[in-house]
């Protein structure tokens, strides 16, 4: 673990620089440039709000904000998981030519995703103001929830990154898994209300699936102004830390062999 922190200290500047570089190159040659970072999430929100709010007739309070909070958390999770599986292979040139702790690649990637999530969150706040969601100081509790989300996905990302090197078709598997989790996480519906008749299923979906849980807590904090479930949040945070430790261990043990495989 000490090696991990030393490496982070040594390479975090590179991680930041390379994240900036990637963001810059992403917008360098598109017509609307950085506006896409705003247009894209807003459009998704409009689509989901229309389909699930109007077509499927959902009477959730502040439905647009409700969807947007879900999307913000989901997109970060989705990008991290999809991104990490192929990360080593996509950086083949780098991995075979220079030594770099492999989680630095993930760290750098996560910075770009965090940045996008930040934008999404800002739009979300604007939307909440427009919909006149009452303000309360408990909203600040969203910060620890995001920290838990980050730690958890970073841990999962490291482990997936490792297996992504040797398992060619892991990305197919994660795609299916992500699709499933997407629909089960209640990005555009309220698990508790929709599944009122199956209380055991609600418990299962909300407690076992960290993303659903985190989304739900974010909504509780931001839209209802209530306190989150601190105990469960702590447990998931702890699981996240354990996953990170496992991931760091696995990568330290194997990273020097990656160059031979890819």
């Amino acid at each position: 673990m000490k090696k991990f922190f030393n490496n982070i200290k040594k390479y975090y500047k590179y991680a930041i620089y390379s994240a900036k570089a990637e963001l810059k190159s992403e917008v360098a040659d598109s017509y609307l440039n950085w506006l896409w970072w705003i247009i894209e999430p807003v459009c998704f929100m409009l689509i989901y709000t229309f389909v699930f709010g109007v077509v499927f007739d959902n009477n959730e309070k502040y439905f647009a904000s409700f969807v947007f909070i879900g999307l913000t958390a989901w997109e970060f999770f989705n990008r991290m998981i999809t991104g990490s599986v192929k990360l080593i292979i996509n950086n083949r040139d780098l991995v075979t030519k220079v030594y770099i702790p492999k989680y630095i690649l993930l760290l750098s990637k996560s910075f770009t995703y965090l940045f996008k999530m930040g934008i999404s969150l800002l739009i979300c706040l604007v939307l909440m103001i427009c919909q006149r969601v009452p303000f309360s100081w408990t909203m600040l509790l969203a910060i620890p929830i995001f920290v838990v989300l980050y730690v958890l996905t970073f841990g999962m990302g490291m482990i997936l990154m490792h297996f992504g090197v040797t398992l060619n078709d892991l990305s197919n598997l994660t795609n299916i898994g992500l699709k499933m989790v997407f629909y089960l996480s209640g990005v555009f519906y309220n698990i508790q209300k929709k599944l009122k008749k199956h209380p055991s299923l609600v418990v299962l979906l909300l407690k076992v699936n960290p993303i659903a849980f985190i989304m739900n807590e974010l909504r509780v904090v931001l839209l209802e102004g209530n306190l989150p479930h601190l105990g469960l949040l702590g447990i998931w945070g702890l699981i996240g830390v354990v996953l990170c430790m496992i991931g760091v261990h696995v990568i330290h043990k194997n990273e020097n062999s990656y160059a031979k495989v890819i």
């Binding site: 590179y14 620089y17 398992l167 078709d169 495989v261 890819i262």
Partner: protein, 261 residues
């Protein structure tokens, strides 16, 4: 050659820069597989490829060691193991605390960014701090000599300009030990001469230890003090260039006449 031998004789205390002991590298361990394949092939034996079979040698500080051998004899594998890109399966590599870099072209370049931004990106990846790069920035820009293209995205470069910039970065940001894998011919004739001279200047620095892999025996003969000859992952001989090279030429002549360079 005279200057090189002078350097050697002036260094009487024989500080060792690299120690390689009984180095084994096997391509195995993690084998690429798919989920289906891992079901059907459970229990079948993985084939091994032993790239290096117990190589040991030492390099003194300030020396220039050429590594020769036919294709697939483990030269690049050894450089990469020494650079720490992957770990040896057996044996030890001790760098005695020296910084090291594998001189390779365009590591970590982002083609959509300008040349200048890529200097930072590539430099930081090689382990230099932002300040160190800023100090050397102008020198790199001058050496690369690609004019206003420095401020244009790298994807607009010709392949020659690309390698010029890449070479400039790795050549100017120096480390104690440099590993060079066949990169001496880059760009047009003029730049080639310039980079060859720069290379010569870089590697004849008394404090810099250099390992060069090349198939061009003339290059090896003119640059190196010592030569290490690898054959099929085994160390054949190590010693002064003028002794080893004739024997190597003879050996290659017997083996496969058209491969000789």
């Amino acid at each position: 050659m005279e200057t090189n031998s002078e350097i050697v004789s002036s260094k009487s205390k024989k500080e060792i820069a690299i120690t390689v002991k009984n180095l084994h590298v096997t391509y195995r361990g993690l084998k690429k597989t798919s989920i289906r394949a891992s079901w059907t092939k459970l229990g079948s034996r993985v084939e091994l490829f032993r790239a290096l079979k117990g190589v040991s040698f030492e390099v003194e500080k300030g020396k220039i060691l050429g590594i020769i051998g036919k294709n697939g004899s483990g030269k690049s594998t050894m450089l990469r193991a020494i650079a720490g890109i992957f770990s040896p399966d057996e044996g030890k590599i001790d760098l005695h605390g020296n910084t090291i870099s594998l001189l390779s072209i365009g590591v970590g370049f982002n083609k959509k960014l300008t040349g200048k931004e890529n200097i930072y990106l590539s430099g930081m990846l090689l382990g230099f701090s932002e300040e160190q790069i800023r100090e050397k920035e102008q020198e790199i820009i001058d050496f690369a000599d690609i004019g206003k293209f420095m401020y244009k995205p790298v994807k607009t470069y010709s392949s020659g300009m690309y390698s010029k910039l890449a070479f400039a970065i790795t050549a100017i940001l120096e480390t104690d030990i440099m590993l060079i894998d066949e990169v001496l011919s880059v760009g047009d004739a003029q730049f080639k001469a310039k980079s060859y001279n720069k290379m010569k200047e870089l590697i004849s620095d008394e404090n810099r230890t250099v390992l060069i892999v090349s198939h061009n025996l003339d290059t090896i003969a003119s640059l190196c003090d010592e030569v290490l000859w690898l054959n099929d992952g085994n160390l054949m001989e190590i010693g002064p260039a003028e002794e080893i090279l004739p024997r190597y030429r003879e050996f290659m002549g017997q083996q496969d006449p058209e491969k000789e360079s």
